[in-house]
């Protein structure tokens, strides 16, 4: 039996909104993630998936419950759980190399070793030519790759990714998907991936956690058949995507009703759902 690695135990979290009401965002979330696995969290917008990631990262405190990594409880941010955010968040005053080396300085690694390591990682994300550039000289996809390199160079136990590709165009996204899968295989890092894109989740992960919304709780955990080495046949991915979408349907319905009024129904407007090419893009 594989050892459970990241343990999420009964996490509750509420925020106070503008009207001073308590809004429950996460409701008793519990799950266990194996070492070296690739887990995606999908759910409609506002379901608290990013909040869950923040709690794991230690950037937010849960109201109750705890999170542990290989037995150790977590209560503050640390370099063992590095986050790649939706926006790259590169420091504009540092070069690409210095950005990647930023975290290494904190690890008390000698300068020469740090530079060597950073260069290796940058080679892995195919950015060796740009190590002395400043972030503003790079394209969006390149910046995101630097951000991934900056996280990986820390050799984290868990790589937390908060919709890292959602601000990128389709081609760049596809390229980075493949690159991320390569990196995952090479480094065997545990990846916790938050996304709203079902197709992305199916393509990348081994396990998909579907969150219900308001309050966010686990609706279902789906295992994606292991076929990572070759491209998965379209029929399989499509079936998976459809399955997840069906699970999510009532949740999406809830969100849309809230936004557009009660008379709106997801069912009656489902012309685009028959077009399988657009599956998963409309959440």
């Amino acid at each position: 039996m594989k050892k459970m690695y990241l343990k999420i135990e009964g996490i509750n979290k509420s925020f106070t909104n503008d009207q001073n009401e308590k809004v429950k965002v996460l409701d008793n979330i519990s799950m266990e993630i194996e070492k070296g696995s690739f887990v995606s969290i999908v759910g409609p917008s506002g379901c608290g998936k990013s909040t869950l990631l923040d709690v794991i990262a230690g950037l937010e405190k849960a109201d109750s419950g705890f999170i542990s990594v290989s037995g150790k409880k977590i209560n503050k941010p640390g370099p063992d759980r590095v986050v790649v955010f939706q926006e790259d968040g590169l420091f504009p005053w540092l070069t690409v190399l210095d950005n990647v080396m930023y975290g290494l300085h904190l690890k008390k690694i000698s300068k020469i070793d740090a530079e060597k390591k950073a260069k290796e990682i940058l080679k892995m994300v195919h950015l060796s030519q740009y190590i002395h550039s400043y972030p503003h000289q790079l394209s969006g996809g390149m910046k995101q790759r630097v951000a991934i390199a900056r996280a990986l160079v820390m050799e984290p136990d868990i790589l937390l990714m908060d919709e890292p590709f959602s601000a990128l165009d389709e081609q760049t996204k596809m390229m980075l998907h493949n690159e991320l899968l390569d990196i995952w295989k090479e480094t065997k890092v545990t990846i916790f991936f938050v996304t709203h894109d079902i197709r992305e989740a199916v393509k990348l992960s081994e396990k998909i956690v579907v969150l219900a919304t308001r309050p966010g709780k686990i609706k279902e955990i789906i295992t994606v058949p292991a076929m990572k080495d070759s491209m998965m046949p379209n029929s399989v991915t499509l079936k998976m995507e459809r399955k997840i979408l069906t699970i999510l349907q009532t949740e999406i319905d809830k969100v849309w009703k809230e936004e557009m009024g009660d008379e709106y129904s997801f069912q009656t407007n489902y012309i685009h759902r028959s077009d399988s090419n657009h599956l998963g893009n409309d959440i």
Partner: protein, 234 residues
């Protein structure tokens, strides 16, 4: 030309050639040069103290809400007091000497510096802070490597304005105070009825002010902007 047409006697409104010869001689024989050096020493000391104080106060205001509620308000109030207004107090406290002048130079620049440091720190994007924290940064390292560099653009423009305030305060202080300097030279010129000297010093004041702004601050700002890739407004 204008001086000929003004109808005033020469010593009150000297001709351009006269001004230039005084200016030239003053620079050569050291009268003006010495005054420049004295003034520069003062402003460098006063300005440095102001910048350090501004940073510390700005940090405290940014870090602690209760300081912001109390001191933050006071800073705005102090900033609206022209620094020369402090001069009577300064004379009583320190006497009519260098300290009094330094005091008003410092106080002229401190508040502006405090305000721009505060807003610089406050406007550091949340994202940078989150990134740094997840990479393991905290405490002094966090301030040094994220908060300060991220607020550099705003702090630079704060420095520029503070310098201008300090320069004005210095001239006013020297004019009323003692111990040499460009302002004192102005006062001498008035007392001796040497308007050519007065105008020469005015030219020097303008030249130094412009040079500092153009050569030092604008250049610094530009280099930061190119490095960061911020589009230049001018």
């Amino acid at each position: 030309m204008t001086s000929r047409l003004s109808g005033l006697p020469d010593f009150m409104f000297p001709s351009l050639t006269q001004v230039f010869s005084t200016l030239f001689n003053g620079l050569i024989d050291g009268q003006i040069t010495k005054a420049i050096i004295i003034s520069f020493k003062r402003i460098l000391i006063g300005f440095s103290i102001a910048v350090i104080l501004g940073f510390i106060l700005g940090y405290l205001i940014w870090r602690f809400t209760f300081v912001e509620d109390t001191l933050g308000f006071l800073v705005t109030a102090f900033q609206s007091i022209p620094s020369i207004v402090w001069f009577p107090l300064a004379i009583i406290w320190f006497g009519l000497n260098d300290f009094a002048i330094l005091f008003i130079v410092t106080i002229g620049a401190t508040w502006t510096m405090t305000m721009s440091a505060t807003s610089g720190f406050k406007n550091v994007p949340e994202l940078y802070q989150r990134v740094a924290k997840t990479l393991g940064s905290s405490g002094f390292h966090f301030i040094k490597t994220v908060i300060i560099p991220a607020s550099i653009p705003q702090i630079l423009s704060g420095l520029r304005i503070s310098w201008a305030f300090a320069w004005r305060a210095l001239m006013a202080g020297e004019l009323l105070g003692a111990g040499g300097g460009l302002g004192q030279l102005l006062e001498n010129g008035r007392a001796l009825g040497q308007m050519d000297l007065v105008i020469s010093v005015m030219i020097i004041i303008a030249v130094i002010g412009t040079m500092m702004d153009r050569v030092v601050f604008v250049r610094l700002e530009r280099s930061v902007q190119t490095k960061w890739g911020i589009n230049q407004a001018t």
